[in-house]
Protein backbone atom coordinates (compact mmCIF):
# COMPACT_ATOMS: atom_id res chain seq x y z
CA UNK A 1 0.00 0.00 0.00
CA UNK A 2 2.07 2.90 -1.23
CA UNK A 3 0.96 6.32 -0.22
CA UNK A 4 1.92 8.44 -3.18
CA UNK A 5 0.66 8.14 -6.72
CA UNK A 6 2.32 9.61 -9.82
CA UNK A 7 2.17 13.36 -10.02
CA UNK A 8 -0.72 14.29 -12.29
CA UNK A 9 1.23 16.99 -14.04
CA UNK A 10 3.38 15.19 -16.55
CA UNK A 11 6.89 16.43 -17.37
CA UNK A 12 7.45 15.42 -20.96
CA UNK A 13 11.18 16.10 -21.10
CA UNK A 14 11.89 13.57 -18.35
CA UNK A 15 11.20 10.95 -21.00
CA UNK A 16 14.08 12.31 -23.05
CA UNK A 17 16.44 10.95 -20.40
CA UNK A 18 14.49 7.75 -19.93
CA UNK A 19 14.35 6.94 -23.63
CA UNK A 20 17.89 8.00 -24.44
CA UNK A 21 19.46 4.56 -24.07
CA UNK A 22 19.06 2.99 -27.54
CA UNK A 23 19.88 6.20 -29.35
CA UNK A 24 22.99 6.70 -27.30
CA UNK A 25 24.19 3.15 -27.94
CA UNK A 26 23.66 3.70 -31.66
CA UNK A 27 25.67 6.88 -31.41
CA UNK A 28 28.54 5.12 -29.64
CA UNK A 29 28.51 2.29 -32.17
CA UNK A 30 28.60 4.82 -35.01
CA UNK A 31 31.45 6.73 -33.36
CA UNK A 32 33.31 3.49 -32.95
CA UNK A 33 32.84 2.55 -36.61
CA UNK A 34 34.19 5.92 -37.60
CA UNK A 35 37.35 5.19 -35.67
CA UNK A 36 36.61 7.18 -32.55
CA UNK A 37 37.99 5.66 -29.34
CA UNK A 38 35.64 4.88 -26.45
CA UNK A 39 36.71 4.96 -22.81
CA UNK A 40 34.81 3.69 -19.78
CA UNK A 41 34.95 5.45 -16.42
CA UNK A 42 33.71 4.53 -12.95
CA UNK A 43 34.27 7.61 -10.88
CA UNK A 44 33.79 11.38 -10.70
CA UNK A 45 37.49 11.96 -10.06
CA UNK A 46 38.22 11.33 -13.75
CA UNK A 47 37.76 14.67 -15.52
CA UNK A 48 35.47 14.39 -18.51
CA UNK A 49 36.94 17.55 -19.97
CA UNK A 50 40.24 15.82 -20.76
CA UNK A 51 38.48 12.86 -22.37
CA UNK A 52 36.33 14.95 -24.68
CA UNK A 53 39.12 17.40 -25.47
CA UNK A 54 40.98 14.42 -26.89
CA UNK A 55 38.12 13.52 -29.22
CA UNK A 56 37.23 10.41 -27.26
CA UNK A 57 33.73 9.27 -26.34
CA UNK A 58 32.95 8.05 -22.84
CA UNK A 59 30.47 5.77 -21.07
CA UNK A 60 30.00 5.28 -17.37
CA UNK A 61 30.51 1.68 -16.26
CA UNK A 62 29.14 1.88 -12.70
CA UNK A 63 26.75 -1.01 -12.23
CA UNK A 64 23.47 -0.47 -10.42
CA UNK A 65 21.71 -3.68 -11.41
CA UNK A 66 21.72 -6.95 -9.49
CA UNK A 67 21.70 -9.27 -12.53
CA UNK A 68 25.47 -9.17 -13.28
CA UNK A 69 26.43 -9.89 -9.66
CA UNK A 70 26.07 -13.64 -9.95
CA UNK A 71 28.65 -13.78 -12.73
CA UNK A 72 30.97 -11.48 -10.78
CA UNK A 73 30.90 -13.69 -7.69
CA UNK A 74 32.83 -16.36 -9.56
CA UNK A 75 35.78 -13.97 -9.29
CA UNK A 76 35.06 -11.59 -6.45
CA UNK A 77 34.21 -12.25 -2.79
CA UNK A 78 30.57 -12.17 -1.78
CA UNK A 79 31.33 -9.68 0.97
CA UNK A 80 32.10 -6.90 -1.45
CA UNK A 81 30.16 -3.79 -2.36
CA UNK A 82 27.41 -4.52 -4.92
CA UNK A 83 28.46 -1.61 -7.12
CA UNK A 84 31.90 -3.12 -7.63
CA UNK A 85 30.46 -6.57 -8.28
CA UNK A 86 27.77 -5.30 -10.63
CA UNK A 87 30.26 -3.21 -12.62
CA UNK A 88 32.69 -6.09 -12.93
CA UNK A 89 29.92 -8.57 -13.74
CA UNK A 90 28.54 -6.54 -16.61
CA UNK A 91 31.98 -6.45 -18.20
CA UNK A 92 32.89 -10.10 -17.83
CA UNK A 93 29.47 -11.62 -18.41
CA UNK A 94 29.85 -12.86 -21.99
CA UNK A 95 26.10 -12.90 -22.55
CA UNK A 96 26.23 -9.22 -21.94
CA UNK A 97 28.94 -8.43 -24.44
CA UNK A 98 28.83 -6.91 -27.87
CA UNK A 99 25.10 -6.55 -27.88
CA UNK A 100 23.05 -3.42 -28.21
CA UNK A 101 21.62 -3.93 -24.76
CA UNK A 102 24.96 -3.57 -23.00
CA UNK A 103 27.33 -0.75 -23.75
CA UNK A 104 30.13 -2.17 -21.64
CA UNK A 105 32.23 -4.93 -23.03
CA UNK A 106 33.34 -4.85 -26.62
CA UNK A 107 32.77 -1.16 -27.09
CA UNK A 108 35.26 0.19 -24.61
CA UNK A 109 38.87 0.54 -25.77
CA UNK A 110 40.25 1.59 -22.44
CA UNK A 111 38.97 1.92 -18.90
CA UNK A 112 40.13 4.99 -17.04
CA UNK A 113 39.94 3.91 -13.47
CA UNK A 114 40.97 5.60 -10.25
CA UNK A 115 42.51 4.63 -6.94
CA UNK A 116 39.59 5.33 -4.61
CA UNK A 117 38.53 2.42 -2.39
CA UNK A 118 40.38 -0.87 -1.89
CA UNK A 119 37.60 -2.97 -3.38
CA UNK A 120 37.71 -1.07 -6.64
CA UNK A 121 41.51 -1.04 -6.89
CA UNK A 122 41.72 -4.80 -6.51
CA UNK A 123 38.80 -5.33 -8.87
CA UNK A 124 40.66 -3.29 -11.51
CA UNK A 125 43.54 -5.76 -11.33
CA UNK A 126 41.15 -8.52 -12.35
CA UNK A 127 39.34 -6.40 -14.91
CA UNK A 128 42.66 -5.61 -16.56
CA UNK A 129 42.68 -9.19 -17.88
CA UNK A 130 39.71 -8.32 -20.08
CA UNK A 131 40.12 -4.69 -21.00
CA UNK A 132 43.17 -2.39 -20.90
CA UNK A 133 43.01 -0.14 -17.86
CA UNK A 134 44.73 3.03 -16.86
CA UNK A 135 44.43 3.61 -13.12
CA UNK A 136 44.77 7.22 -12.05
CA UNK A 137 46.23 7.65 -8.60
CA UNK A 138 44.59 10.03 -6.16
CA UNK A 139 46.21 11.86 -3.28
CA UNK A 140 44.06 10.65 -0.42
CA UNK A 141 44.95 13.54 1.85
CA UNK A 142 43.73 16.34 -0.38
CA UNK A 143 44.59 19.06 2.14
CA UNK A 144 48.24 18.05 2.05
CA UNK A 145 50.63 20.59 0.66
CA UNK A 146 51.77 18.36 -2.19
CA UNK A 147 48.39 16.86 -2.98
CA UNK A 148 47.42 19.30 -5.70
CA UNK A 149 50.80 19.11 -7.47
CA UNK A 150 50.63 15.34 -7.36
CA UNK A 151 47.12 15.28 -8.76
CA UNK A 152 48.10 17.67 -11.54
CA UNK A 153 50.87 15.22 -12.48
CA UNK A 154 48.35 12.40 -12.57
CA UNK A 155 46.17 14.49 -14.88
CA UNK A 156 49.21 15.14 -17.09
CA UNK A 157 49.78 11.36 -17.31
CA UNK A 158 46.14 10.82 -18.16
CA UNK A 159 46.51 13.42 -20.89
CA UNK A 160 49.45 11.46 -22.36
CA UNK A 161 47.51 8.18 -22.11
CA UNK A 162 44.58 9.66 -24.01
CA UNK A 163 46.85 11.25 -26.63
CA UNK A 164 48.64 7.92 -27.16
CA UNK A 165 45.34 6.09 -27.45
CA UNK A 166 44.05 8.38 -30.17
CA UNK A 167 47.01 10.08 -31.75
CA UNK A 168 45.13 13.35 -31.13
CA UNK A 169 46.60 16.28 -29.25
CA UNK A 170 44.75 17.86 -26.35
CA UNK A 171 45.28 21.50 -27.18
CA UNK A 172 44.60 24.33 -24.74
CA UNK A 173 41.88 25.62 -27.01
CA UNK A 174 40.06 22.29 -27.04
CA UNK A 175 40.42 21.83 -23.30
CA UNK A 176 39.24 25.36 -22.59
CA UNK A 177 36.22 24.70 -24.74
CA UNK A 178 35.36 21.49 -22.88
CA UNK A 179 35.79 23.16 -19.48
CA UNK A 180 33.48 25.95 -20.56
CA UNK A 181 30.85 23.54 -21.76
CA UNK A 182 31.07 21.31 -18.65
CA UNK A 183 30.68 24.43 -16.51
CA UNK A 184 27.57 25.35 -18.48
CA UNK A 185 26.04 21.98 -17.60
CA UNK A 186 26.99 22.44 -13.96
CA UNK A 187 25.34 25.86 -13.92
CA UNK A 188 22.16 24.41 -15.41
CA UNK A 189 22.09 21.76 -12.68
CA UNK A 190 22.54 24.47 -10.05
CA UNK A 191 19.61 26.30 -11.59
CA UNK A 192 17.56 23.12 -11.43
CA UNK A 193 18.53 22.48 -7.81
CA UNK A 194 17.45 26.05 -6.98
CA UNK A 195 13.92 25.01 -7.99
CA UNK A 196 14.15 22.14 -5.53
CA UNK A 197 14.62 24.62 -2.68
CA UNK A 198 11.02 25.79 -3.15
CA UNK A 199 8.34 24.82 -0.65
CA UNK A 200 6.80 22.71 -3.38
CA UNK A 201 9.61 21.65 -5.74
CA UNK A 202 8.49 20.93 -9.32
CA UNK A 203 10.60 17.76 -9.50
CA UNK A 204 10.69 14.75 -7.18
CA UNK A 205 13.91 13.09 -6.04
CA UNK A 206 13.27 9.85 -7.91
CA UNK A 207 12.78 11.83 -11.13
CA UNK A 208 15.92 13.85 -10.54
CA UNK A 209 17.97 10.75 -9.78
CA UNK A 210 17.02 9.18 -13.09
CA UNK A 211 18.26 12.34 -14.80
CA UNK A 212 21.55 12.33 -12.94
CA UNK A 213 22.09 8.63 -13.56
CA UNK A 214 22.20 9.54 -17.25
CA UNK A 215 24.68 12.38 -16.75
CA UNK A 216 27.78 10.32 -17.52
CA UNK A 217 26.11 7.91 -19.89
CA UNK A 218 24.84 10.46 -22.40
CA UNK A 219 27.18 12.65 -24.37
CA UNK A 220 27.75 16.00 -22.63
CA UNK A 221 25.98 17.82 -25.44
CA UNK A 222 23.06 15.41 -25.43
CA UNK A 223 22.72 15.66 -21.67
CA UNK A 224 22.87 19.44 -21.68
CA UNK A 225 20.35 19.75 -24.48
CA UNK A 226 17.84 17.62 -22.54
CA UNK A 227 18.60 19.51 -19.36
CA UNK A 228 17.73 22.84 -20.99
CA UNK A 229 14.38 21.43 -22.14
CA UNK A 230 13.69 19.99 -18.70
CA UNK A 231 14.46 23.29 -17.00
CA UNK A 232 12.20 25.20 -19.39
CA UNK A 233 9.38 22.81 -18.68
CA UNK A 234 9.86 22.80 -14.90
CA UNK A 235 9.89 26.59 -14.80
CA UNK A 236 6.48 26.95 -16.43
CA UNK A 237 4.50 23.94 -15.28
CA UNK A 238 2.53 24.21 -12.06
CA UNK A 239 3.33 21.12 -10.09
CA UNK A 240 2.70 20.35 -6.44
CA UNK A 241 4.98 18.02 -4.51
CA UNK A 242 4.85 17.72 -0.75
CA UNK A 243 5.92 15.54 2.16
CA UNK A 244 8.72 15.60 4.72
CA UNK A 245 11.79 17.05 2.97
CA UNK A 246 14.54 14.45 2.79
CA UNK A 247 18.21 14.67 1.89
CA UNK A 248 19.91 11.47 0.78
CA UNK A 249 23.56 11.32 1.68
CA UNK A 250 26.08 8.57 1.05
CA UNK A 251 26.97 6.06 -1.65
CA UNK A 252 26.24 6.51 -5.33
CA UNK A 253 23.02 5.11 -6.77
CA UNK A 254 24.13 3.89 -10.17
CA UNK A 255 21.62 3.40 -12.96
CA UNK A 256 19.23 0.59 -12.04
CA UNK A 257 19.55 1.15 -8.30
CA UNK A 258 16.36 2.95 -7.30
CA UNK A 259 15.19 0.86 -4.36
CA UNK A 260 15.67 3.23 -1.44
CA UNK A 261 14.64 6.53 -3.08
CA UNK A 262 11.56 4.85 -4.52
CA UNK A 263 10.58 3.54 -1.11
CA UNK A 264 11.13 6.97 0.46
CA UNK A 265 8.95 8.77 -2.07
CA UNK A 266 6.32 6.04 -2.40
CA UNK A 267 5.85 6.16 1.37
CA UNK A 268 5.22 9.89 1.33
CA UNK A 269 8.65 11.51 1.66
CA UNK A 270 10.01 14.09 -0.74
CA UNK A 271 13.70 13.95 -1.63
CA UNK A 272 14.92 17.50 -2.20
CA UNK A 273 18.68 17.00 -2.45
CA UNK A 274 21.22 14.18 -2.75
CA UNK A 275 24.70 14.53 -1.30
CA UNK A 276 26.20 11.74 -3.38
CA UNK A 277 28.03 10.98 -6.62
CA UNK A 278 24.63 10.73 -8.28
CA UNK A 279 23.74 14.08 -6.75
CA UNK A 280 25.55 17.26 -5.80
CA UNK A 281 29.06 15.77 -5.92
CA UNK A 282 28.65 15.34 -9.69
CA UNK A 283 28.33 19.04 -10.43
CA UNK A 284 28.70 21.19 -7.33
CA UNK A 285 32.00 22.99 -7.91
CA UNK A 286 32.88 24.74 -11.15
CA UNK A 287 36.27 24.79 -12.84
CA UNK A 288 37.83 28.25 -12.55
CA UNK A 289 38.03 29.42 -16.15
CA UNK A 290 40.52 32.17 -15.34
CA UNK A 291 43.28 29.89 -14.12
CA UNK A 292 45.86 27.75 -15.87
CA UNK A 293 43.78 24.89 -17.29
CA UNK A 294 45.27 21.77 -15.74
CA UNK A 295 45.60 23.42 -12.33
CA UNK A 296 42.03 24.68 -12.45
CA UNK A 297 40.81 21.21 -13.37
CA UNK A 298 42.80 19.59 -10.59
CA UNK A 299 41.53 22.08 -8.02
CA UNK A 300 37.92 21.43 -8.95
CA UNK A 301 38.11 17.66 -8.99
CA UNK A 302 40.14 17.34 -5.82
CA UNK A 303 37.34 19.12 -3.96
CA UNK A 304 34.97 16.16 -4.43
CA UNK A 305 34.32 14.96 -0.87
CA UNK A 306 34.54 11.18 -1.30
CA UNK A 307 34.71 9.04 1.82
CA UNK A 308 38.02 7.59 0.60
CA UNK A 309 39.63 10.92 1.54
CA UNK A 310 41.24 11.80 4.84
CA UNK A 311 40.25 13.94 6.60
CA UNK A 312 36.91 14.46 4.96
CA UNK A 313 35.53 17.41 6.91
CA UNK A 314 34.59 18.98 3.61
CA UNK A 315 31.79 16.43 3.24
CA UNK A 316 30.39 17.09 6.69
CA UNK A 317 30.41 20.85 6.06
CA UNK A 318 28.69 20.27 2.73
CA UNK A 319 25.97 18.08 4.29
CA UNK A 320 25.20 20.71 6.93
CA UNK A 321 25.16 23.49 4.34
CA UNK A 322 22.85 21.56 2.01
CA UNK A 323 20.55 20.61 4.89
CA UNK A 324 20.11 24.30 5.65
CA UNK A 325 19.86 25.55 2.04
CA UNK A 326 17.31 22.93 1.05
CA UNK A 327 15.42 23.19 4.33
CA UNK A 328 15.52 19.44 4.94
CA UNK A 329 13.48 17.81 7.71
CA UNK A 330 15.63 14.68 7.85
CA UNK A 331 18.59 12.91 6.29
CA UNK A 332 18.60 9.35 4.99
CA UNK A 333 22.17 8.10 5.17
CA UNK A 334 22.46 5.52 2.44
CA UNK A 335 25.33 3.05 2.25
CA UNK A 336 25.98 0.09 0.04
CA UNK A 337 26.77 -3.06 1.97
CA UNK A 338 30.48 -3.48 2.66
CA UNK A 339 31.31 0.09 1.64
CA UNK A 340 33.61 0.72 4.56
CA UNK A 341 34.42 4.35 3.74
CA UNK A 342 30.84 5.60 3.82
CA UNK A 343 29.83 3.17 6.54
CA UNK A 344 32.53 4.34 8.92
CA UNK A 345 32.08 8.00 8.03
CA UNK A 346 28.42 7.67 9.04
CA UNK A 347 29.36 8.07 12.69
CA UNK A 348 30.86 11.54 12.19
CA UNK A 349 28.00 12.64 9.95
CA UNK A 350 25.47 11.41 12.53
CA UNK A 351 27.25 13.34 15.28
CA UNK A 352 27.30 16.53 13.23
CA UNK A 353 23.63 16.23 12.31
CA UNK A 354 22.65 15.49 15.89
CA UNK A 355 24.36 18.68 17.00
CA UNK A 356 22.34 20.58 14.42
CA UNK A 357 19.11 18.89 15.50
CA UNK A 358 18.56 17.16 12.16
CA UNK A 359 17.13 13.62 12.42
CA UNK A 360 18.94 10.84 10.60
CA UNK A 361 17.87 7.44 9.35
CA UNK A 362 20.61 5.09 8.33
CA UNK A 363 20.00 2.45 5.66
CA UNK A 364 22.58 -0.07 4.52
CA UNK A 365 21.50 -2.19 1.61
CA UNK A 366 22.51 -4.06 -1.53
CA UNK A 367 20.86 -4.51 -4.92
CA UNK A 368 18.57 -7.38 -3.89
CA UNK A 369 14.95 -6.92 -2.91
CA UNK A 370 15.38 -9.06 0.21
CA UNK A 371 15.12 -6.19 2.67
CA UNK A 372 12.37 -4.16 0.98
CA UNK A 373 9.79 -4.63 3.75
CA UNK A 374 12.34 -3.95 6.48
CA UNK A 375 13.34 -0.72 4.77
CA UNK A 376 9.69 0.29 4.38
CA UNK A 377 9.19 -0.11 8.14
CA UNK A 378 12.18 2.08 8.91
CA UNK A 379 11.19 4.68 6.34
CA UNK A 380 7.56 4.76 7.51
CA UNK A 381 8.66 5.21 11.11
CA UNK A 382 11.13 7.94 10.11
CA UNK A 383 8.54 9.85 8.08
CA UNK A 384 5.96 9.50 10.87
CA UNK A 385 8.58 10.86 13.24
CA UNK A 386 9.19 13.90 11.02
CA UNK A 387 5.54 14.74 10.40
Amino acid sequence: MDKIVENIVFIKSLDLFKDAFPERIDQILKNKEEGKKIVGTLCLYVPDELIYACGVDRVILCGGRSAPIEAAEQYLPRNLCPLIKSSFGSVIDQKCSKTKSCPHFGLVDLIIAEATCDGKKKMYELLNQYIPIHVMDLPQKPENQNALEYYIKELESLKCVLENLTGNKITDAKLRNEIKSANETRKLLHELYELRKRDSPPIRGTEMLKVLQQMHFLSPDGFRKNLVLLLDELKVKKRENSGPRIMISGCPMASGNMKVPEIIENRGGLIVVEESCTGTRAFWDLVDENKELMRALAERYLKIPCACMYPNDRRIDQILRLAGDFNVDGVVYYTLQFCHGYNVEKYRVAEALKKSGIPLLSIESDYSGADTEQIKTRVDAFLEMLE
Partner: protein, 251 residues
Protein backbone atom coordinates in the same frame (compact mmCIF):
# COMPACT_ATOMS: atom_id res chain seq x y z
CA UNK B 1 -15.81 5.46 20.49
CA UNK B 2 -14.50 2.00 19.70
CA UNK B 3 -11.26 1.52 17.79
CA UNK B 4 -9.19 -1.53 16.95
CA UNK B 5 -5.46 -1.93 16.49
CA UNK B 6 -3.98 -4.92 14.70
CA UNK B 7 -0.26 -5.68 14.89
CA UNK B 8 0.49 -8.09 12.08
CA UNK B 9 3.88 -9.42 13.19
CA UNK B 10 6.19 -11.95 11.56
CA UNK B 11 5.57 -14.53 14.28
CA UNK B 12 2.33 -13.48 15.97
CA UNK B 13 -0.65 -11.29 15.17
CA UNK B 14 -2.01 -9.17 17.98
CA UNK B 15 -5.30 -7.27 18.18
CA UNK B 16 -6.57 -4.81 20.78
CA UNK B 17 -10.03 -3.30 21.20
CA UNK B 18 -10.16 0.12 22.75
CA UNK B 19 -13.45 1.54 24.03
CA UNK B 20 -13.47 5.11 25.35
CA UNK B 21 -9.69 4.84 25.74
CA UNK B 22 -9.93 1.64 27.81
CA UNK B 23 -8.71 -1.78 26.70
CA UNK B 24 -11.73 -4.05 26.56
CA UNK B 25 -10.00 -7.06 25.06
CA UNK B 26 -6.96 -8.36 23.25
CA UNK B 27 -5.94 -11.40 21.23
CA UNK B 28 -2.57 -12.94 20.37
CA UNK B 29 -2.48 -15.64 17.72
CA UNK B 30 0.32 -17.23 15.65
CA UNK B 31 0.59 -15.54 12.25
CA UNK B 32 1.35 -18.64 10.20
CA UNK B 33 1.92 -18.10 6.51
CA UNK B 34 -0.90 -15.74 5.63
CA UNK B 35 -0.77 -12.29 7.21
CA UNK B 36 -4.26 -11.46 5.95
CA UNK B 37 -5.94 -14.56 7.34
CA UNK B 38 -4.22 -14.16 10.70
CA UNK B 39 -5.34 -10.53 10.78
CA UNK B 40 -8.94 -11.53 10.19
CA UNK B 41 -8.77 -14.32 12.77
CA UNK B 42 -7.26 -11.99 15.39
CA UNK B 43 -9.95 -9.43 14.60
CA UNK B 44 -12.77 -11.96 15.08
CA UNK B 45 -11.19 -13.32 18.24
CA UNK B 46 -10.71 -9.95 19.85
CA UNK B 47 -14.30 -8.99 19.05
CA UNK B 48 -15.70 -12.12 20.66
CA UNK B 49 -13.37 -11.71 23.67
CA UNK B 50 -14.68 -8.19 24.13
CA UNK B 51 -18.24 -9.45 23.70
CA UNK B 52 -18.82 -7.29 20.65
CA UNK B 53 -19.90 -7.64 17.09
CA UNK B 54 -18.93 -5.37 14.23
CA UNK B 55 -21.56 -2.74 14.96
CA UNK B 56 -20.26 0.46 16.35
CA UNK B 57 -16.63 -0.19 15.43
CA UNK B 58 -14.93 3.05 14.49
CA UNK B 59 -11.50 3.09 12.91
CA UNK B 60 -9.22 0.07 12.46
CA UNK B 61 -5.48 0.71 12.19
CA UNK B 62 -2.91 -1.90 11.17
CA UNK B 63 0.78 -2.06 12.06
CA UNK B 64 3.61 -4.62 11.87
CA UNK B 65 5.32 -6.32 8.94
CA UNK B 66 2.07 -7.53 7.44
CA UNK B 67 0.29 -4.17 7.88
CA UNK B 68 -0.30 -3.76 4.16
CA UNK B 69 -2.01 -7.16 4.01
CA UNK B 70 -4.72 -6.15 6.48
CA UNK B 71 -7.15 -5.05 3.81
CA UNK B 72 -9.97 -4.11 6.19
CA UNK B 73 -7.83 -1.59 8.07
CA UNK B 74 -8.55 2.09 7.44
CA UNK B 75 -4.90 3.08 7.67
CA UNK B 76 -1.47 1.64 8.41
CA UNK B 77 1.30 2.90 10.65
CA UNK B 78 4.80 1.63 11.36
CA UNK B 79 5.20 -0.48 14.48
CA UNK B 80 7.82 1.91 15.81
CA UNK B 81 5.31 4.75 16.06
CA UNK B 82 2.68 2.31 17.36
CA UNK B 83 4.89 0.88 20.13
CA UNK B 84 5.83 4.34 21.32
CA UNK B 85 2.17 5.31 21.61
CA UNK B 86 1.16 2.04 23.26
CA UNK B 87 3.99 2.08 25.81
CA UNK B 88 3.31 5.72 26.65
CA UNK B 89 -0.29 4.77 27.51
CA UNK B 90 0.77 1.94 29.82
CA UNK B 91 3.97 3.43 31.24
CA UNK B 92 3.72 7.23 30.98
CA UNK B 93 7.21 7.81 32.39
CA UNK B 94 8.90 5.65 29.71
CA UNK B 95 11.48 7.37 27.50
CA UNK B 96 13.23 4.32 26.06
CA UNK B 97 11.68 1.19 24.60
CA UNK B 98 13.48 -2.04 23.94
CA UNK B 99 11.41 -4.24 21.67
CA UNK B 100 12.60 -7.72 20.81
CA UNK B 101 10.21 -9.45 18.49
CA UNK B 102 10.19 -12.58 16.41
CA UNK B 103 11.85 -11.03 13.38
CA UNK B 104 13.67 -7.95 14.57
CA UNK B 105 14.72 -5.95 17.55
CA UNK B 106 14.53 -2.23 17.98
CA UNK B 107 15.32 0.47 20.46
CA UNK B 108 13.13 3.55 20.46
CA UNK B 109 13.75 6.84 22.15
CA UNK B 110 10.64 8.92 22.80
CA UNK B 111 9.12 11.98 24.39
CA UNK B 112 5.43 11.96 25.38
CA UNK B 113 4.65 9.00 23.19
CA UNK B 114 6.31 10.53 20.13
CA UNK B 115 9.34 8.88 18.54
CA UNK B 116 12.48 11.02 18.68
CA UNK B 117 14.96 8.47 17.35
CA UNK B 118 15.13 4.74 16.80
CA UNK B 119 17.44 1.93 15.75
CA UNK B 120 16.57 -1.42 14.29
CA UNK B 121 18.73 -4.51 13.86
CA UNK B 122 19.89 -5.38 10.37
CA UNK B 123 17.86 -7.65 8.22
CA UNK B 124 19.16 -10.92 9.74
CA UNK B 125 17.67 -12.67 12.74
CA UNK B 126 20.66 -12.06 15.04
CA UNK B 127 19.51 -10.62 18.34
CA UNK B 128 15.84 -11.52 17.88
CA UNK B 129 13.33 -14.02 19.17
CA UNK B 130 14.20 -16.18 16.19
CA UNK B 131 17.75 -16.53 17.52
CA UNK B 132 16.48 -17.90 20.84
CA UNK B 133 13.92 -20.14 19.21
CA UNK B 134 16.59 -21.69 16.99
CA UNK B 135 19.26 -22.10 19.59
CA UNK B 136 16.83 -23.46 22.22
CA UNK B 137 16.11 -26.17 19.71
CA UNK B 138 19.82 -26.98 19.54
CA UNK B 139 19.68 -27.51 23.31
CA UNK B 140 16.52 -29.58 22.91
CA UNK B 141 14.54 -27.45 25.32
CA UNK B 142 11.57 -25.12 24.94
CA UNK B 143 11.89 -21.38 24.80
CA UNK B 144 10.44 -21.01 28.31
CA UNK B 145 12.84 -23.58 29.73
CA UNK B 146 15.77 -21.68 28.23
CA UNK B 147 15.11 -18.68 30.47
CA UNK B 148 14.54 -20.71 33.60
CA UNK B 149 17.56 -22.91 32.98
CA UNK B 150 19.82 -19.93 32.32
CA UNK B 151 19.14 -18.60 35.81
CA UNK B 152 20.85 -21.66 37.30
CA UNK B 153 24.12 -20.87 35.54
CA UNK B 154 27.10 -19.64 37.53
CA UNK B 155 29.46 -19.52 34.59
CA UNK B 156 27.75 -18.53 31.33
CA UNK B 157 29.41 -19.85 28.20
CA UNK B 158 30.76 -17.33 25.73
CA UNK B 159 28.83 -17.43 22.47
CA UNK B 160 30.67 -15.32 19.93
CA UNK B 161 28.68 -15.98 16.75
CA UNK B 162 26.18 -13.28 16.02
CA UNK B 163 24.62 -15.21 13.18
CA UNK B 164 21.78 -17.48 14.29
CA UNK B 165 22.88 -20.40 12.16
CA UNK B 166 26.52 -20.12 13.24
CA UNK B 167 25.44 -19.85 16.88
CA UNK B 168 23.62 -23.12 16.50
CA UNK B 169 26.86 -24.79 15.33
CA UNK B 170 28.66 -23.11 18.20
CA UNK B 171 26.17 -24.66 20.62
CA UNK B 172 26.91 -28.06 19.12
CA UNK B 173 30.64 -27.46 19.72
CA UNK B 174 29.99 -26.43 23.32
CA UNK B 175 27.90 -29.55 23.88
CA UNK B 176 30.74 -31.65 22.50
CA UNK B 177 33.06 -29.91 24.97
CA UNK B 178 30.62 -31.00 27.71
CA UNK B 179 29.77 -27.48 28.80
CA UNK B 180 26.77 -27.50 31.15
CA UNK B 181 23.38 -26.97 29.57
CA UNK B 182 22.52 -24.07 31.88
CA UNK B 183 25.80 -22.35 31.02
CA UNK B 184 25.06 -22.57 27.31
CA UNK B 185 21.51 -21.29 27.91
CA UNK B 186 22.88 -18.35 29.88
CA UNK B 187 25.49 -17.72 27.19
CA UNK B 188 22.81 -17.55 24.52
CA UNK B 189 20.81 -15.07 26.50
CA UNK B 190 23.85 -12.91 27.15
CA UNK B 191 24.64 -12.95 23.47
CA UNK B 192 21.24 -11.63 22.47
CA UNK B 193 21.42 -9.04 25.24
CA UNK B 194 24.81 -7.86 23.99
CA UNK B 195 23.33 -7.24 20.57
CA UNK B 196 20.57 -5.16 22.11
CA UNK B 197 22.94 -3.27 24.40
CA UNK B 198 24.92 -2.02 21.41
CA UNK B 199 21.78 -0.42 20.02
CA UNK B 200 20.72 0.93 23.43
CA UNK B 201 24.11 2.55 23.96
CA UNK B 202 24.20 4.00 20.46
CA UNK B 203 20.85 5.66 21.03
CA UNK B 204 21.47 6.64 24.63
CA UNK B 205 19.43 5.40 27.56
CA UNK B 206 16.90 7.59 29.31
CA UNK B 207 14.68 6.09 32.05
CA UNK B 208 12.13 4.72 32.35
CA UNK B 209 13.10 1.85 30.12
CA UNK B 210 10.24 -0.33 28.93
CA UNK B 211 10.80 -3.79 27.53
CA UNK B 212 8.21 -5.11 25.08
CA UNK B 213 7.78 -7.79 22.44
CA UNK B 214 7.51 -11.55 22.81
CA UNK B 215 11.03 -11.95 24.18
CA UNK B 216 10.18 -9.70 27.14
CA UNK B 217 8.01 -12.53 28.46
CA UNK B 218 11.15 -14.47 29.27
CA UNK B 219 12.11 -13.70 32.89
CA UNK B 220 15.69 -14.89 32.37
CA UNK B 221 16.22 -12.30 29.70
CA UNK B 222 14.62 -9.50 31.67
CA UNK B 223 16.90 -10.25 34.65
CA UNK B 224 20.03 -10.35 32.51
CA UNK B 225 19.10 -7.11 30.77
CA UNK B 226 18.55 -5.41 34.13
CA UNK B 227 21.88 -6.67 35.37
CA UNK B 228 23.84 -5.56 32.32
CA UNK B 229 22.17 -2.15 32.04
CA UNK B 230 22.13 -1.72 35.81
CA UNK B 231 18.63 -0.31 35.65
CA UNK B 232 15.16 -1.43 36.67
CA UNK B 233 13.15 -2.32 33.62
CA UNK B 234 9.43 -1.62 33.33
CA UNK B 235 7.39 -4.43 31.88
CA UNK B 236 3.84 -3.96 30.68
CA UNK B 237 1.45 -6.60 32.00
CA UNK B 238 1.23 -8.04 28.48
CA UNK B 239 4.41 -6.98 26.63
CA UNK B 240 3.25 -8.36 23.30
CA UNK B 241 0.32 -6.05 22.69
CA UNK B 242 1.87 -2.57 22.89
CA UNK B 243 2.04 -2.28 19.09
CA UNK B 244 -1.60 -3.21 18.61
CA UNK B 245 -2.57 -1.00 21.52
CA UNK B 246 -0.67 1.94 20.03
CA UNK B 247 -2.39 1.36 16.71
CA UNK B 248 -5.80 1.35 18.43
CA UNK B 249 -4.91 4.57 20.25
CA UNK B 250 -3.81 6.23 17.01
CA UNK B 251 -6.84 4.99 15.02
Amino acid sequence: MISIGIDSGAATTKAVVLCENKITGYAIIPTGFDFRKAGEAAYQEVLSKSGMDETGIGKILATGYGRSSIGFADKTISEITAHARGVCYLIPAAHTIIDIGGQDSKVISMENGKVVDFLMNDRCAAGTGKFLEYTAKALEISLDELGTLAQLSKNPAKISSMCTVFAESEVVSLRAQQVKKEDIAAGLIESIIQRTIVMVKKLGIKPDVAFVGGVAKNPGIVKTLEKVLDIKIKLPEEPQITGALGAALLA
